[in-house]
């Protein structure tokens, strides 16, 4: 029940926000913030009740929905989904706080953010494939409106591209889901979409391959995995920046989560069969997107490509099929969410002050806004995976896992850490170091109290989890290990 409350609290909040009268749109902010903080509180209680050391799903709930088709409302969390739920509930209030100064229809905007939160969380906690699919596609609706209605100049193009691309992938996955359902019913006579039942259901290797491909379509686009990433730079750049925080911080995890939760355990033979391709695409994505990030002139697009590059590491770790890779991958999901959220928040803060995101429009900012510069440096170094910060733990474990599985891929990916430092430090140098050339930059104000309230928790988490990752790692471990075992399952 607690989980369901956590899941739908944002939706309730969205309704409340929408009910705020039009004349008092500013109070919508307060309602939204309270709703998201309430959700966070529920999630914290959830985490406190979580029993570390157990591999299975906990704190869940099952209710019949459409018995004729075996669809049930079934939710639960395990070591893999709990950190992601927390990530979602932490980033959303921060995003709402970040949108405080928005004047264009704040009520609608915030309501959509809250709907997005419920939809994304739903993906993480669904244990019924039909329910999962509903939430999966439900994410598209608020995202489409957030990008298309509130975004930048090319927002409509970006939103449509994002929607169509992701929907296509999702439809192919739907075919796979239905096929799986049908195969199971044919074999056992029981209609069900239940996750556990379908995982335990033995499928022929050749069947697994097709089904894996079907699910791959959706997850590859959502992650995104190179070369299915082309919707992302436009969507992230055109979306309003606090939306991008949620898109990059949470929505991007849906794809990798999907691989981990569904594609691997449901179709282990298919996963093994596809492993070389996935590893290759991951490595190419890491290197290619890093190179493209280097030549970006818009800082937001640079961070967008950086995001894809880092997600490549996570995919690499997952498809190493060992405990280090999987545990590292999940940890890196959290780390990535924190760091990329921070990067986009500061991008938004700069944009609010200067109206531009082009790197060349800045320069020498450290003189004017030293505190912001310091925070930006910490977050940047977190992205560069400096040991002692959160990014390193994830990067080290995923690369180690990859190395234990296949040295060549790992060596290539490790070379990618150089590139990460190149484009981030170069951008930092051009924006924050050097002389103050432009007069427009002279009068910028340093971080306000509200902005500190947003950034401080992120920075604290980046540092603390970098040195003390154990609380997260030990909660992830049993469930990650379970996925490893499920993926090793011998073919019938």
């Amino acid at each position: 029940m607690l989980l369901t409350a956590t899941l739908f609290a944002p939706l309730v909040g969205a309704v409340l926000v929408a009910l705020v009268p039009a004349s008092r749109q500013e109070s919508a902010r307060l309602v939204a913030l309270v709703a998201s903080l309430a959700t966070l509180a529920l999630a914290v209680v959830l985490a406190a009740r979580f029993r570390t050391g157990e591999a299975g799903f906990q704190l869940g709930m099952t209710a019949e929905w459409v018995p004729a088709f075996g669809v049930s409302y079934r939710v639960g969390v395990d070591g893999v989904s709990l950190p992601l739920v927390l990530l979602t509930t932490v980033l959303t209030p921060l995003a709402i706080a970040g949108s405080w100064r928005m004047t264009d229809r704040p009520r609608t905007y915030l309501a959509l953010l809250l709907v997005l939160e419920t939809a994304m969380m739903g993906v993480f906690v669904s244990l019924d494939l039909f329910l999962f699919y509903i939430f999966w596609e439900a994410v598209l609706v608020p995202a489409y409106f957030l990008i298309g209605s509130f975004g930048g100049q090319r927002r409509v193009y970006a939103a449509v591209k994002f929607f169509v691309y992701t929907l296509l992938g999702g439809l192919l996955m739907l075919v796979g889901i239905i096929a799986l359902f049908w195969l199971h019913q044919k074999a056992t006579g029981t209609p069900t979409f239940d996750y556990e039942a379908l995982v335990n259901f033995q499928k022929a290797p050749s069947t697994q391959r097709w089904l894996f491909l079907a699910f791959f379509a959706a997850f590859a686009v959502k992650t995104p995995l190179w070369p299915f990433h082309t919707w992302l730079p436009d969507a992230y750049t055109e979306a309003p920046t606090t939306t991008t925080v949620l898109l990059a911080g949470v929505m991007s995890k849906l794809g990798v989560y999907g691989f981990l939760r569904f594609a691997l355990p449901l179709f282990p033979d298919g996963a093994h069969w596809a492993q070389p391709v996935l590893l290759t695409l991951a490595v190419v994505g890491i290197l290619y997107c890093a190179l493209v990030a280097t030549v970006q002139r818009d800082f937001k697009t640079l961070v967008a490509y950086s995001s894809v590059s880092h997600l490549g590491f996570i995919v690499l770790g997952i498809f190493a099929f060992n405990i280090q890779g999987l545990q590292g991958g999940v940890f890196y999901m959290v780390a990535h969410g924190l760091v990329i959220g921070g990067l986009f928040f500061i991008t938004g803060m700069l944009e609010e002050r200067r109206g531009t995101r082009r790197i060349e429009d800045f320069g020498g900012l450290q003189q004017v806004v030293p505190r912001m510069a310091a925070v930006m440096l910490v977050i940047t170094l977190g992205s560069v995976a400096l040991p002692g910060l959160v990014g390193f733990v994830g990067e080290f474990l995923t690369l180690l896992g990859a190395f234990l599985e296949n040295r060549v891929y790992a060596v290539l990916a490790t070379g990618g850490v150089i590139l990460g430092a190149v484009y981030l430090l170069w951008a930092y140098q051009r924006m924050w170091h050097g002389r103050l050339e432009r007069d427009e930059n002279r009068a910028l104000g340093d971080l306000t109290g509200r902005e500190w309230a947003i950034l401080a928790p992120l920075v604290a988490a980046i540092i603390v989890l970098g040195l003390f990752p154990r609380p997260v790692l030990e909660r992830v471990e049993p469930s990650a290990r379970r996925v490893v075992e499920q993926t090793q399952a011998p073919s019938p």
Partner: protein, 516 residues
């Protein structure tokens, strides 16, 4: 970092006292260590668990043994002196509290590096010092710093044709060059874990001799790649001369005495792995020798006082790598040179800073000349360090450099060839360092009108004096003429092993006779 702006004036003193306290503790710990006998001189402190995943179990474990004790003493001791100096040097800088907090962060990271008991904690310190190098080199992020072109003409008072360089690109270059090396460190760690199942030194070094030759070579070469980055060896040395854009105390501490020696320390610490691979050892010696020669050659043509010293550091680091690359006969020699170099190079840099301080921050030696009367303390202390670096008999550099060369000669085979390179480089060293002191302190006055060169305040000259004294006596104190290679060798033996052939002394004497 937190209260700096209110404590500004005190910041330097707080920082210095903290490091000095660390030094005192290190000395006390040293005596505690010495009270144990040889094999018991390794103490491991098991700390908090950091990362655990599957069979990987890494904790914040620390190790206190002669090697880490030596490094800790050097780091905290030399750093205390440089901190003291910095209080005077950075007196007028409005961000000096940030400077001191980063300087202390550096010392902390360096200590983590040398005290680590496993590769991952060492890597934490390794990257930590890289970060501090980035921060400190880029400290004057918006200041115009002139580049002095090499090999200019000596014309009194005439300005050189210079370009502007700023610190930030230099800082970025340092970080990136180090990052390339770090890829080597990461891959080495992966390979170590893949083959031994652990990253803990005790486990890994115990298994080192059982590694397949190819694996050992790969691990050693990957680690050495990291060393070329951190210790500015060919081909990743290019960041060090640019790093001179940082404040001079930073150059003295990070880019002379401590951070750049981390690579030498790494080879010494992981020597069992290198011993399992003759190929890797040969590579280390050859790269070290080549870099020593290259650094000396480039230094000859430099006109910027800090760049001369930077290339000199690259060259001297080459000597250290020759030492530790030779195997048991050379470890102590390499480490010995690390210690003496810390003293005389730090002195030279601080002396250069003193010269700059008294000359409107000019770094061009073509604008100096005849400064010995204007800055006597700087002059005499620099001469002491000059004597040490060129290896005047009885100074520190004499003992340490000759031990390296002796070990080379004794090694035989290719060692003899490299010995020729080593001796040649020693000659070049004498040349460019003499050029340095002659053009700066002797001869005609070439500084522009209106400049009044003056000696530096006591806060700055006191460390100069201490380091000069160390540069003169440390060699004698740590070594004797007896056969076992001296007190330092014996001290390090539990960690680094004894050389097989105790005839080093004979060769040292031979050198004295035959050296030009």
């Amino acid at each position: 970092m937190l209260f700096g702006q209110r404590l500004r004036a005190l910041a330097g003193w707080i920082a210095t006292l903290a490091v000095a306290a660390a030094f005192v503790i290190a000395v006390a710990a040293l005596f505690e260590l010495l009270s144990h006998s040889g094999e018991e001189r390794t103490q491991v402190l098991r700390g908090y668990e950091w990362i655990t995943s599957g069979d990987l179990r890494v904790a914040f474990d620390l190790r206190w043994d002669p090697l880490s004790a030596l490094m800790a003493l050097i780091v905290t001791g030399v750093s205390s002196l440089i901190h003291l100096y910095s209080i005077g040097y950075m007196e007028h800088d409005e961000r000096r509290e940030t400077f001191f907090s980063w300087l202390n962060l550096f010392v902390a990271s360096m200590l983590v590096l040398v005290l680590a008991q496993n590769f991952l904690v060492m890597f934490l310190g390794w990257e930590g010092v890289g970060l501090c190098s980035y921060l400190l080199v880029g400290f004057w992020f918006n200041r115009r710093l002139l580049v002095v072109n090499p090999l200019g003409r000596l014309v009194p008072g005439e300005p050189d044709d210079t370009r502007e360089v700023w610190a930030p690109p230099a800082a970025k270059k340092a970080f990136l060059a180090n990052r390339i090396g770090d890829v080597g460190f990461l891959l080495a760690m992966f390979l170590i874990f893949a083959t031994t199942g652990s990253l803990d030194f005790n486990v890994v070094f115990g298994e080192a001799s059982t590694l397949a030759a190819g694996t050992a070579t790969a691990i050693a070469l990957l680690l050495f790649l990291a060393c070329t980055g951190k210790s500015a060896q060919f081909p990743l040395y290019v960041w060090l001369p640019d790093a001179m854009a940082g404040p001079t105390p930073v150059s003295a501490l990070i880019h002379a005495a401590t951070m750049v020696t981390a690579g030498v320390f790494l080879v010494a610490r992981t020597h069992t792995i290198f011993e399992a691979s003759g190929t890797a050892q040969t590579v280390v010696v050859l790269v070290g020798a080549g870099t020593a020669l290259l650094g000396a050659l480039i230094a000859i043509g430099q006109d910027d006082i800090k760049k001369i010293l930077a290339y000199s550091t690259i060259s001297q680091l080459g000597y250290m790598f020759i030492g530790v690359g030779l195997g048991p006969i050379g470890y102590a020699a390499g480490m010995f040179h690390l210690v003496t170099h810390a003293f005389f190079k730090a002195q030279l840099f601080l002396g250069a800073g003193s010269v700059m301080h008294g000359n409107d921050e000019d770094t061009d030696i073509k604008h100096f000349g005849g400064l010995r009367s204007a800055m006597p303390i700087t002059f005499w202390t620099t001469m002491a360090a000059w004597a040490a670096i060129i290896g005047v008999p009885l100074t520190a550099g004499f003992y340490s450099k000759d031990q390296v060369l002796a070990a080379l000669f004794e090694h035989g085979g290719i060692g003899r060839l490299v010995w020729v390179v080593g001796v040649l480089t020693a000659g070049l060293t004498a040349f460019y360092m003499s050029r340095y002191v002659f053009l700066t302190f002797f001869g005609e006055r070439r500084w522009p009108e209106g400049r009044h060169p003056h000696e530096s305040p006591p806060l700055m000259t006191l460390p100069l004096i201490v380091l000069a004294v160390l540069a003169l006596v440390a060699g004698f104190a740590l070594s004797t003429f007896t056969g076992e290679g001296g007190r330092l060798q014996q001290f390090l033996e539990p960690v680094l092993g004894a050389p097989e052939d105790p005839e080093g002394a004979v060769l040292i004497v031979a050198f004295l006779v035959f050296r030009p």
